[in-house]
């Protein structure tokens, strides 16, 4: 009981700099968009079809999360309120990925 009451109090006690959070989230969004573009291009060039392409996408998500953690100097919680370096903006990223995957597959392997 005491743990349950103390936990939200701790969260409320911390005050965050909103401008810095917006800046960091913009950086994450930019990185995710570029990463999904690059992964889509690579998947199209390699001629992947079906689930193999999505496997490449999730491998690139892992690489991106690793690079973000290196950029944050292993101190993710001092730049972001929650620990979610993997699950950021996948709807946007997957749409971009599929767009460039299909485009490059068509350009390289079909025509």
């Amino acid at each position: 009981m005491s743990d349950k009451t103390s936990k939200p109090e701790k969260k409320n006690d911390e005050c965050y700099n909103t401008v810095a959070i917006t800046n960091n989230v913009e950086a994450l969004e930019f990185g995710r968009t570029c990463q999904s573009c690059a992964a889509g291009m690579a998947a199209g060039i390699l001629g992947l079809t079906g689930f193999h392409g999505f496997i490449l996408y999730f491998i690139s998500v892992g690489i991106q999360a690793l690079i973000w953690n290196v950029k944050a100097q292993g101190n993710w919680l001092s730049y972001f309120p929650e620990r979610n370096s993997f699950t950021w903006s996948h709807g946007n990223g997957l749409l971009t990925f599929v767009l460039l995957w299909v485009f490059f597959y068509g350009m390289v392997h079909v025509y």
Partner: protein, 143 residues
């Protein structure tokens, strides 16, 4: 300086990725001409694609805005007076300056100067001028 390096990495890896696309397209064209079935791309093209993919992710994620601290003020040693300082609200032209000893000293000095001026004028001019000086002295005393 650092951002130039990351921009260079990004541009080079993007060009390398496009070069990979061109090589893969040429490979497919060659296979179609020689009527061989497509199995997989040559290993060097695959390797170049993967390396340029990783380099592109690295370059773009460092090209984005640098992360900023979100938790607290970076200036730990600031006192409350410094943090809540509003210089635009400070007014120096208020009546409490009359209470300072420097102001009283200045005032006596000014009065002495005026008296000296009036005395010199009295010596040179006629009584009509001295009347006006008397009136100005009365305004000084009102101040």
């Amino acid at each position: 300086m650092a951002s130039t390096i990351y921009r260079l990495i990004t541009i080079v890896s993007l060009l390398s990725l496009i070069h990979c696309a061109y090589s893969a397209a040429q490979h497919r064209f060659y296979l179609r001409l020689t009527e061989q079935p497509f199995v997989s791309l040559p290993a060097d093209v695959v390797a170049q694609t993967v390396i340029s993919l990783v380099a592109l992710i690295y370059g773009t994620s460092y090209l984005a805005n640098p992360f900023q601290y979100i938790k607290k003020d970076q200036h730990h040693d600031r006192t409350c007076d410094e943090a809540l300082n509003c210089p635009s609200f400070i007014t120096f032209e208020n009546r409490s300056k009359a209470m300072s000893p420097e102001f009283a000293m200045l005032r006596t000095l000014k009065q002495q100067q005026r008296q000296r001026q009036t005395s010199s004028r009295k010596e040179t001019h006629s009584g009509r001028v001295s009347e006006t000086i008397h009136s100005s002295e009365s305004t000084d005393s009102q101040e």
